[in-house]
Amino acid sequence: MLAALRWLVFALFALLVNLPVIVTLVTSFKSPKEIAANPSLWIEAPTLENFASVLVPTDRLNLLGYLGNSLVVSLIGSGLALLLALPAAHAIARGKLGRQTLLPLVLNLRAVPLIIFAIPIYMGFQWLGLLDTRIGLGLVLTVVNLPLALVILVNALNELPVELDEAARIDGAANWQILTLILTPLVRPALVTAFIFGFVTAWNEFLFGLMLTTTRAVPVTVGASFFFASAGGGVQWGLAAAVMIAAALPPMLLGLLMYRQISRSLLAGAVKG
């Protein structure tokens, strides 16, 4: 009895929290005519025409371009964050560097509203010609990802025995050699986790994409909103739904495949805060 009630509560809640995605998915398979006539969650005549027409770029909207931009900026944002965080994490975990100041300072960055830094970054980018470039947006997403990447890597390095370093040092290895040759292979799971999580975070970022890009480097979160501001005639819901599904799918797939790692990194940030 109680077990059945649990399943019921689970099903209800699962439906409720996932409702926007479910509704959008259903709508994306309906023809424009059916969307107007049948708002229910049932599809009378499923069609792929929305997806087919949304993939064809127009002079104003270019879904594949937005997806490509998101892919590139997310790869920069998660990869560069790891590249910067790994040696720093090594210095913090093993060299006992900045445990009182640097680490807490960077950790607290996760709680600071990033809008605070947005205006000067916008002005600086304008000056440097980085506005509306993928490298510019990728650099900012690196900032967004750095704090959590650092926590995850410091935690992972702390779990490795110090004897590993000592043995290598006796053999004459320098710090950077210990890091690259011995420790990095051992923290590979943590690197993968931090990379995936950073990728998802960067893919889903909106504020900086909105501020720093206009045409060439627009990520898909911002590009999706273009389909709602269509020129005259109101929103074409079928197309908009197909775009949103395409934009939401990559991180959702990663989430389903790696939900253990992702939930762990979500929590790593929370617990060590």
Binding site: A91, L102, I115, M123, V143, L266
Partner: protein, 288 residues
């Protein structure tokens, strides 16, 4: 000590320099511009002008309305998310333990960009093509206008909470499963009914997690931008502008650079004070 200090410093330098360029420098620019007279034409030669920008921001009713919106929004969403998340983590515990894939289903919303969720709700709640009004009409013959006047604040609270309750839930689920089984067994041996077990054993053990989750969710709600912006924007008369949206609109829509930057600095100081005191409290507790 192993290795020389310079060697360690060198390893941390790239990250520190990067953060200084992207966060330290902007913070400094904020400070300078906030006490300057500046427009898009005079960006590179700001003229020092004292605290006029701060006074302009503090005298702007929209600034206070946005602060009040952010505060109420953060509080309401944090309470809802932690309340429902706690209930689910405890009530569903046996189910989650037996079938861990259920966790993956519940955490799906965390993977979707909040800006997309805001857009999706335009569809979900749409008068003519949205399923929610459709089913409400079919079942009750009535549907509220979710995005107008009095309802919009609570619509936004529900939208945010439905997406982020899974976060609180995940934290509580982990804390709940980390409670040593011996403690539960001992309490049950002593004849404690389930409610007493929850109230006197489990909840006290989960209290630190509850506090952390509430704090994280409050801050996230307070600084909200994406989903509110894509669903309703600043709303009629700025009624749904959070502080983040207020700063964004002051800068990009009104070109009021000085005021926007001053508001950024005020927000920064408020967060600095908040985080500093929270950190002090937590370190004092852990060393005590």
């Amino acid at each position: 000590m192993t290795g020389s200090r310079t060697e360690w410093t060198l390893l941390a330098t790239p990250m520190v320099v990067f953060l200084l360029v992207f966060l330290g420098l902007p913070a400094l620019v904020n400070l300078v511009y906030s006490v300057s007279e500046v427009s898009f034409e005079t960006l590179r030669s700001p003229r020092l002008s004292g605290f006029g920008n701060y006074l302009a921001a503090l005298a702007d009713p929209a600034f206070w309305r946005a602060s009040w919106f952010s505060f109420r929004f953060g509080l309401a969403t944090a309470i809802l998310e932690c309340g429902i998340g706690l209930f689910l983590a405890v009530f569903l515990a046996p189910l989650l333990r037996a079938r861990s894939w259920t966790i993956a289903i519940l955490m799906m919303p965390l993977m979707v960009a909040p800006s997309l969720v805001g857009l999706m709700y335009r569809l979900v709640l749409h008068e003519f093509v949205g399923p929610v009004p459709f089913y409400l009409y079919a079942l009750l013959g009535w549907s509220p206008s979710f995005l107008s006047g009095g309802a919009v604040f609570w619509t936004l609270v529900v939208v945010e909470s439905l997406q982020w309750t899974p976060f609180a839930f995940l934290l509580f689920h982990m804390a709940y499963s980390a409670i040593p089984p011996e403690l539960r067994e001992a309490a049950v041996m002593d004849g404690a009914p389930p409610m007493a077990l929850l109230r006197h054993v489990e909840l006290p053990l989960m209290l630190p997690t509850l506090v952390i989750a509430f704090f994280i969710r409050f801050i996230d709600g307070f600084r909200v931008f994406d989903n509110v912006y894509t669903l309703v924007g600043a709303g009629p008369g700025g009624s749904t502008a959070s502080l983040s949206i207020y700063i964004y609109e002051s800068f990009f829509r009104q070109g009021a650079i000085g005021k926007a930057v001053a508001a950024s600095v005020i927000l920064f100081l408020a967060f600095f004070a908040l985080l500093w005191s929270v950190n002090r409290l937590s370190t004092r507790r852990s060393t005590a």
